[in-house]
């Protein structure tokens, strides 16, 4: 009996059940169904992973297995959308990550969302999201991926807009959907281009390494790049939209309007890394057919991570800080993929990137869930309303600290290992890029500890009622994820996932590792100095660079630019004139034709007056004319 389709079906069933039953179901029942089905799914995913990695390798490589596949829609003989399950190291790894984080979020939400109106709806959407995300990672072909790609987009839209009576949430949901939709247009166009030249959607054929697949596109170039490069760049645009890479990142900070567990699941751990997964999935194609696109990806990743880290340093909403930190970390992963080569030590970046994806999912989910616990306790997202929380919430405090250390890259926490590998790969590729990333890593440590101190230490805020530790359903996921964060770094990740599938043993490059730890330590020290206690220096620093500070606070005006483009250019500049044109020119022409006809008929109506005498006169005149004519001619 094949288990993998069941992993997907369980959340789907749970969605249908809770979604169709709606409020007829008791909230507790809906939560129970969702959580239970996901627990089962997670169990099956672990089982699948265990089974998959324990099957012996074939020629040193874990085989790609398609245990389940059926034709869903046929376009032409070669092009057809199949729905199926593809198991290979990265999809199995993603299955584990998604089910784990999703399960934790399900459990956590039992406590966090308790008593909320629409609890059943919430669980239905969570299940829908989990189903779509799982479908995305096991996709056997690029069109299946696109299908689930759209589905995760919609479930993200629904969950961001969960508090639909709040105008900000509605606006954020809309923004998220439209920005990613715009990117998806690139994805779709990329798929069309790629499939036109390769006559296949299938990942198995595309990534088989057989360059004959791409022979159809040989020689076709556009603006100096091959068609396949263009297709792959466009596909990357889709990934960049979902993964909130600069300049398509604007939706992610706003998406924090959704419930916090949702941010943890969708906007930190799973959906936003879909872009990374997409590039990783097509990595052999990128590497063989369009290495220049990979370099572009690395550059975009580096710019994104630096930009987001700078902005994160000045945000005051704790969820926004975490959002920008997510953007920054995804930038890291993209750089890792971009600088990677194929096989052996060259493929370090690929392995490191996915390793970082794995560890990041855990500790970032932890951070968000911790932030959720804090928001639950103090009823605010603003740092100014917090401070001195360490004595009220010991569990949250400790787990949050673990996550902060992990993301800052302090050994022995998981983030250290994965981030260090990315840095090593980047330095190996290009020292300038490496230096930028190191600087970003320092910024990361700084803003994370700024966040940490402002929440848990600094000046205690005035609380109307004393904050309390989160209930068990919420603290259990925190502890569980913290435990994973503690040990995950020691997983021999290279044994399972590497660019060419051959086992790769990670060895730390102590020169770089030592350096980055030192930098991170220094950044943490600086943060301690500035934010451990209430300290005027921070304010003075901000005042010393007013322009930079203001620009960073405003996220370098990217949102304003978008607003200008969408509102002013597209809405007022294109749509309004088009609508006006339609009403007045096109329709005006038709109405003009109609009124012209009317006028003309009015003009000749005089002849048909109904006055017999007039007719008689005309008849007489006509007769006389004819007679005269006959006589004269």
């Amino acid at each position: 009996m094949e288990l993998t389709p069941i992993i997907l079906l369980l959340p789907l069933l749970s969605f249908l059940l809770t979604g169709l039953a709606g409020t007829k179901l008791k909230p507790a029942a809906a939560g129970g169904i969702g959580t239970l089905s996901l627990a089962l799914s997670a169990l099956l995913a672990y089982l699948t992973a265990g089974r998959y990695f324990s099957t012996p390798r074939v020629e040193g490589v874990y085989e790609k297995i398609v245990p389940f596949n059926f034709e869903w829609l046929r376009f032409t003989e070669n092009l057809h959308i199949d729905l199926g399950v593809l198991l290979d190291p990265i999809s199995v790894m993603m299955l584990v990550v998604i089910t784990t984080v999703s399960l934790m979020v399900h459990i956590y939400s039992l406590g966090y969302m308790k008593g909320e109106k629409g609890f059943q709806r919430y669980y239905a959407f969570l299940s829908l999201f989990t189903f779509s995300m799982l479908g995305l990672v096991v996709a056997t072909n690029i069109f299946q991926m696109y299908i689930f790609w759209e589905l995760v987009g919609v479930s993200s839209y629904l969950l961001i807009g969960f508090y639909y009576t709040k105008p900000e949430a509605v606006a954020a949901a809309k923004k998220a959907f439209i920005v990613t939709r715009f990117a998806d247009l690139g994805f779709l166009t990329g798929i069309l281009l790629l499939s036109y030249h390769t006559h296949t959607f299938d990942f198995g054929i595309l990534t088989s390494g057989d360059s004959g697949v791409f022979a159809g596109a040989a020689g076709t170039t556009f603006l100096g790049c091959s068609v396949i490069s263009w297709a792959l760049s466009l596909i990357f645009v889709g990934g960049a939209g979902k993964s909130a890479l600069f300049p398509l990142h604007i939706w992610l900070p706003d998406a924090m309007e959704g419930p916090t567990p949702v941010s943890a699941l969708i906007h930190a751990a799973t959906m936003v890394v879909a872009g990374v997964f997409l590039v990783a999935r097509l990595f052999p194609v990128y590497h063989a057919e369009a290495p220049e696109v990979l370099t572009g990806i690395a550059v975009v990743g580096a710019v994104t991570s630096l930009y987001a880290a700078i902005v994160a340093c000045v945000q005051t909403d704790i969820k926004r800080v975490l959002a920008f930190s997510t953007i920054s970390q995804i930038g890291f992963m993209m750089v890792g993929l971009g600088v990677s080569g194929m096989g052996g030590h060259d493929g370090l970046g690929y392995m490191a990137s996915l390793f970082h994806l794995f560890t990041h999912a855990m500790f970032k989910a932890l951070l968000f869930l911790g932030a959720g616990a804090i928001i639950h306790a103090v009823h605010s997202n603003e740092m100014a309303r917090m401070g001195g929380l360490y004595k009220y919430m010991p569990v949250t405090h400790l787990t949050f600290l673990v996550a902060c250390l992990a993301i800052s890259g302090i050994p022995p926490f998981s983030g250290f290992f994965s981030k260090d590998e990315i840095l090593a790969a980047t330095f190996q590729f290009n020292p300038v890029l490496g230096t930028i990333l190191s600087f970003t890593a320092a910024l990361t440590a700084f803003y994370m500890f700024r966040l940490y101190y402002r929440i848990f230490w600094n000046r205690p805020a005035h609380y109307d009622h004393a904050p309390h530790e989160a209930p068990g359903s919420m603290s259990f996921p925190l502890i569980f994820l913290a435990a994973i964060t503690l040990v995950a770094g020691f997983i021999p990740f290279g044994q399972f996932v590497s660019s060419d599938g051959v086992a790769y043993t990670i060895h730390l490059d102590w020169k770089i590792a030592g350096g980055s730890v030192a930098i991170a330590g220094a950044a943490i020290g600086l943060a301690t100095l500035l934010y451990r206690k209430e300290n005027p220096t921070a304010g003075k620093l901000a005042a010393a660079f007013p322009l930079l500070y203001r620009a960073a606070c405003k996220r370098f005006y990217i949102d304003e630019i978008y607003l200008f483009v969408t509102k002013k250019l597209i809405f007022n500049g294109i749509s309004r004139p088009v609508a006006w044109f339609d009403r007045h020119i096109i329709d005006g022409a038709l109405n003009g034709a109609a009124s012209l006809t009317e006028k003309l008929s009015l003009a000749i109506r005089g002849l048909q007056s109904g006055h017999v005498q007039q007719y008689a006169l005309l008849t007489l005149g006509g007769t006389l004319l004819i007679v005269l004519g006959i006589l004269l001619v």
Partner: protein, 495 residues
């Protein structure tokens, strides 16, 4: 008795029944029974069709019947169906059924209303079963005329203006059609085999010079009904003024007559001219697709939004037809089905919402999701279908169109495909804008905070349509295969 003729006979019998019906109850009884029969008949026809095909029947048209009607001009009453017309008949039956449910509470002259409605159905069904050009044209006209009265008498807003505009524009289209059909007839006569029968004419092969001037006539004539730019302006006004069920039937089925006609007459009979002249119409339909979507972004009347969205979606149908390859044509038919169901759902919901709030202006509504959750959820589903969410019919249709159109070897066609693709972003914008303003946020008006949610017949309408949309969206293969198979004879002309 031929099974297909029943599709025309039942609505006629319904009209007779209505003539004798005394009160509202009897009227409802007659129309419900009739519509259910039609629906059952359509489903039965699909099953019978699939059975015949799987039994190895390879004829181009099945269930054919032929009676001479007027011998001197070779006019026959000749019917037959292939996979495409079968699916269109099913669509029409579903929409007639739900349309009748949606006009359950019709109070103004219900008897006359339903009689015209049935006459409209006669035209629609008759059009899809005909294989004789003249019969086809006749039924086309039969479908158009009731529209004038249905909008003019039972409509709202500037109904006389809209009804007049719609009828005049569509009549203008049929004038072109008549000219084209006569042209086809006389050239087929000149070629030695005078006939009005589609299949026979397709075999005789019209001379290319005559195709060149007949093709634009026919394509424009049918295109006007399919909202071809720049002859689409009847659609926003007409839909906005029409009563709910008429909007449903009009956008859901009648606009499909245009697409179906383009495909069955223009492309099928004149393949050479289609290949030569398609570029002009590709530009026009490309404009329709994008232009409709952008116009919809700034509209404030729910029906106008949906009407412009229909311009965009129907533009995609014609666009796909012009790509002249099997996948794109398949996509065109799927898009007709999908758009028919989707837009019928939209208009039904708009009618229901309007019945409660007495306004269609999105600036005057807000937060309705909290007040009328059932209608709200249905509206969101309709919206998601319209913006192409996988699992609903819109995705299947649009992707088939895009992939198919992109298989064209000519760069011009592929560039235009990408242009058409951009409409999916604009679609997302206007759908989400509408949903956000209409359903989400706080309740805007005090009097809107206590509205009653859907009652049984409204629920049934919405659920039936959603089930059909999701059905196509989740399991498209059988439908798509049925259509693909029937496309073979049409596509043969291009090779």
């Amino acid at each position: 008795m031929n099974i297909l003729s029943l599709f025309v006979l039942i609505p006629l019998l319904m009209m007779a029944g209505l003539f004798f019906a005394g009160n509202l109850k009897q009227i409802r009884c007659v129309v419900t029974i009739g519509a259910s029969l039609l629906l059952a008949l359509a489903i039965g026809l699909v099953i019978a069709y699939l059975e015949e095909r799987s039994a190895g029947e390879t004829a181009e048209m099945l269930f054919t019947a032929d009676t001479v009607w007027y011998a001197p001009l070779h006019i026959h009453y000749s019917v037959g169906v292939d996979g495409i017309s079968v699916s269109m008949l099913l669509l029409s039956a579903v929409i007639v059924f739900t349309g009748i449910l949606a006009s359950w509470k019709m109070e103004l002259l219900p008897k006359e209303y339903f009689m015209w409605f049935c006459l409209l159905s006669v035209g629609v069904f008759g059009f899809f079963i005909s294989v004789d050009l003249f019969t086809m044209f006749l039924f086309y006209e039969v479908a158009l005329i009731p529209m004038y009265l249905l909008i003019g008498v039972w409509g709202s807003g500037k109904k006389e203006y809209s009804a007049m505009k719609l009828t005049l524009m569509l009549m203008g289209g049929s004038a072109l059609l008549l000219l084209g059909i006569l042209g086809i007839y006389f050239f087929s006569a000149a070629a030695g085999a005078p006939s009005m029968n589609l299949l026979e004419i397709s075999r005789t092969h019209l001379p290319v010079e005559s195709q060149r001037w007949i093709f634009p006539l026919i394509f424009t004539g049918f295109g006007i009904l399919g909202a071809l730019f720049p002859f689409h302006t009847w659609s926003p006004d007409g839909h906005a003024s029409a009563p709910t069920a008429v909007s449903m039937l009009h956008a859901g089925v009648l606009m499909k007559l245009g697409g179906y006609g383009c495909f069955r007459v223009a492309i099928y009979l004149m393949p050479e001219a289609a290949q030569e002249l398609s570029w002009i119409f590709i530009i026009l339909t490309g404009i329709s697709v994008v232009y409709g979507a952008y116009s919809a972004i700034v509209q404030t009347d729910l029906k106008y939004i949906n009407a412009y969205s229909s311009v965009s979606h129907c533009g995609l149908v014609l666009f796909a037809i012009l790509m002249l390859n099997r996948t794109a044509l398949n996509g065109a038919v799927l898009q007709m089905l999908s758009h028919g169901l989707m837009t019928a759902l939209f208009f039904a919901l708009i009618g229901m919402i309007y019945g409660r709030t007495h306004t269609r202006d999105i600036r005057e509504m807000g937060g309705l999701m909290k007040v009328i959750p059932f209608l709200g959820v249905c509206y969101v589903i309709a919206g998601l279908a319209s913006l192409g969410l996988p699992g609903l019919s819109g995705f299947v249709a649009e992707m088939t169109v895009f992939v198919g159109a992109f298989q064209h070897t000519d760069t011009f066609h592929r560039v235009f495909t990408i242009v058409a693709c951009t409409s999916i972003v604009a679609t997302a914008v206007y759908i989400l804008r509408t949903v956000g303003k209409l359903l989400y946020g706080p309740v805007l008006r005090e009097e809107q905070s206590h509205l009653a949610d859907a009652v049984w017949y409204e629920r049934l309408t919405a659920i039936l349509l959603i089930a059909a949309i999701a059905g196509i969206g989740l399991a498209p293969l059988w439908l798509s295969d049925m259509i693909r198979e029937s496309l073979l004879p049409i596509i043969e002309h291009f090779q």
